[in-house]
Symmetry: C2
Subunit: 420 residues, 2 copies
């Protein structure tokens, strides 16, 4: 993509109400823009990162035979009355009336809808287990929206639901989701821990949270530095109970950011909605359910909180909005801009997603914007093009390398393979 | 995907309020399910078709250097006051108050938001032209929601916006969008016409609609059967004015379904929001704007309206939820189910998106469901597997072909290439 056609408004200063680094950098680098308190537009660079996160989430859900659907945001009050949550959900539930004065909620979660949607179909043990997920815009009327994408009023979630004939089947599926979540957060490049949690308003028994380690965040977690899967599970969430040092590693504290949450719901919703199936003995049973959420837009924020320096964002390879940033230091010198255009075309051909800074700006402005945006690899086409050379700069390591244009693809391919 | 894990609840009868064939078939084949009047869940098969439509839409927007962003559904009343549309939009605008009693609209369209979002950035002719688009859930409180996805209250739209220094630049971009729309609807397999239209509540001067030809629909259009690009443009929309027979072909009438709409907005919104830029002479000017919409969920409905028979849906190749449906007539006979599993794996390996009907159902039920779902190619693994043969059935032509398993891939590849 040519940067002259990309809407990426960078800012020298972040607004004063942006107090955490991820909020400041996402605003300054032109990834998001506020429309109202806790309500944002994802600008093209931000949308590309969201797409990359969604691609990983989809692949890991497909791998566990969980298929995607899309439920509506508008949910009739009657469904929330049936679960009893219309009254207990409080001020965070956004509510409206349609033209006929019928009450609706704007969905913060979809247990009520999915239970109704599957109700008629899941009438026999032969159709179980089943799991589905969606990636969708959710609404929650936060009393104090803050920290950018961390505590917003409109945000993107992945929510999945599973249905089972018994607790054993739910346990199997729950473990599959736990593994999928580990894969997702690892592929996103996050430093995270799984911790025990309580079920809150969701009801049911047993749940765990996945927390990104960060100095900001709204929970404090303790974790063991030996970091293996088993010992992480045993770590406790300070927001819920007292910390319990476990494992053999050093005990560390951090202000964690919640990325995902998995719940064993049991029969709470199937009982409210009268969802039964005939078991193998033709007896009516209530369905067992699980639900599994991931904050898609929050992942973007958590990554920026973990990966940045004084110049801007440092995207991990799998989430970066582009792979390569081609930056000609001048767009008026034919030798420079022509070579930049050639390199741009040839790298696109080679399969890289490339951004070409063809804006009529000074080199200093371009470099500052490039550092701020944090694309992993930068190719600077400058005066050394007279000797047939360009510079490759690695945003992750800070390394710079001068290479002949004819060796560029090979050199780039090696550096690209070693990116995190 | 294995059908036993796919949530695709087929129905023998459509609900009585589904009066048009696309609504009936999408419900019966398990593509959508109603949650409230005019509010639907896209079940996994429906979501896959929506994804295919979106892939085509994205590719054609990338090709005209239009980049994707995502604006919020929640829009503060102040923005709609500024454009004057809060009062004139009427009962179709869904409105709500947040916990602080501030008014919001649920966006049916995004001129107000996009104008505010670009306002600070587009301050110079050097940054023009610029265009952006989003694919997003929209809300419109229809007085009489009906016809399934055709007139819903929550639906998926693609909306694009372009910004220009003068009318000539707007004209150039508008023509690019017109061409992109022709490409999109053609790739979707739609029989459509472009017709002149009025600007309605959008304001501005000049617009055109893209209409799917169908017996249902809410507008009547006349069109020339010589069908070339130029003569279609001159055809008039009966809903707007009197029909004007044009071109050299036979004149045809049809009740059309609106798929897309392109508008030259002029300076209506930039003037309301005080969005100005400095032109080449450093003089302040109001931005020229265009906007361009496509009803993503409505395309799914229009295609089904055009492509069906008494047995079900007949998907065009580019929109089909799967490429191939592998149907073993029995899941208990090892020879049949083992061959079906082998064929399933080998076709997936070859790059096809394959659905395997591994449900413990009778062959008759499976064939009926398969016809209803309308996947273009079906491979029946039945008794002839004893002779090493399977049957390929083409849902588009009705042709059936018995082939040896070792020749399956080659035969399938030829038939697949000739699908529409």
């Amino acid at each position: 993509m040519k940067q002259s056609r990309l809407f990426a408004p960078t800012l020298k200063e972040a607004p004063s109400d942006a107090v955490i680094v991820s909020h400041q950098l996402l605003l300054r680098a032109g990834f998001i823009k506020q429309v109202a308190a806790g309500i944002y537009t994802y600008l093209p660079l931000g949308k590309k990162v969201i797409d990359n996160i969604e691609t990983i989430v989809r692949a890991e859900h497909t791998a566990i035979d969980c298929s995607e659907l899309l439920m509506p945001a508008l949910q009739p009050k009657e469904l929330w009355d049936q679960s009893g949550r219309w009254d207990v959900y409080g001020g965070e539930l956004m509510r409206l009336k349609d033209r006929h004065q019928r009450d609706f909620a704007l969905g913060p979660t979809h247990e009520e809808v999915i239970t109704t949607v599957v109700k008629d179909y899941l009438n026999s043990y032969k159709k179980l287990p089943l799991s589905v997920y969606q990636i969708q815009t959710k609404f929650r009327d936060e009393a104090r929206p803050r920290f950018g994408l961390m505590r917003g009023r409109e945000f993107i979630m992945k929510d999945a639901y599973s249905f089972h004939e018994d607790a054993a089947s739910l346990d199997v599926e729950y473990d599959k989701f736990v593994q999928a979540y580990h894969n997702i957060f690892t592929r996103c490049g996050l430093d995270f821990r799984m911790v025990e949690a309580d079920n809150g308003q969701m009801g049911g028994s047993g749940s765990a949270e996945f927390m990104a380690l960060a100095e900001v965040g709204e929970d404090t977690i303790v974790y063991s530095t030996d970091g293996d899967f088993a010992s992480n599970i045993e770590v406790h969430d300070l927001a819920v109970g007292e910390p319990a040092p476990v494992g053999n590693g050093t005990i560390q504290h951090a202000k964690g950011i919640e990325l995902g949450h998995v719940f064993k719901l049991g029969t709470k919703y199937s009982e409210s909605f009268g969802v039964t199936f005939l078991d193998v003995d033709q007896k009516k049973q209530a369905l067992m359910m699980g639900c599994y959420g991931i904050g898609i837009s929050r992942i973007m924020m958590a990554i920026v909180e973990q990966k940045n320096d004084e110049f801007g964002i440092i995207w991990p390879k799998n989430l970066a909005p582009f792979d390569v940033h081609v930056v000609p230091i001048c767009t008026k010198t034919p030798e420079i801009i022509d070579h930049a255009l050639d390199i741009y075309a040839s790298l696109q051909q080679a399969g890289y997603d490339v951004l070409l800074d063809d804006r009529p700006e000074r080199a200093g402005v371009k470099f500052k914007d490039s550092d701020l945006m944090g694309i992993p690899l930068r190719i600077v086409v400058g005066k050394s093009i007279a000797d047939g050379s360009v510079q490759i700069a690695n945003r992750q390591t800070g390394e710079k390398l001068e290479v002949k244009v004819e060796d560029l693809k090979e050199a780039l391919s090696e550096i690209y393979a070693n990116l995190k």
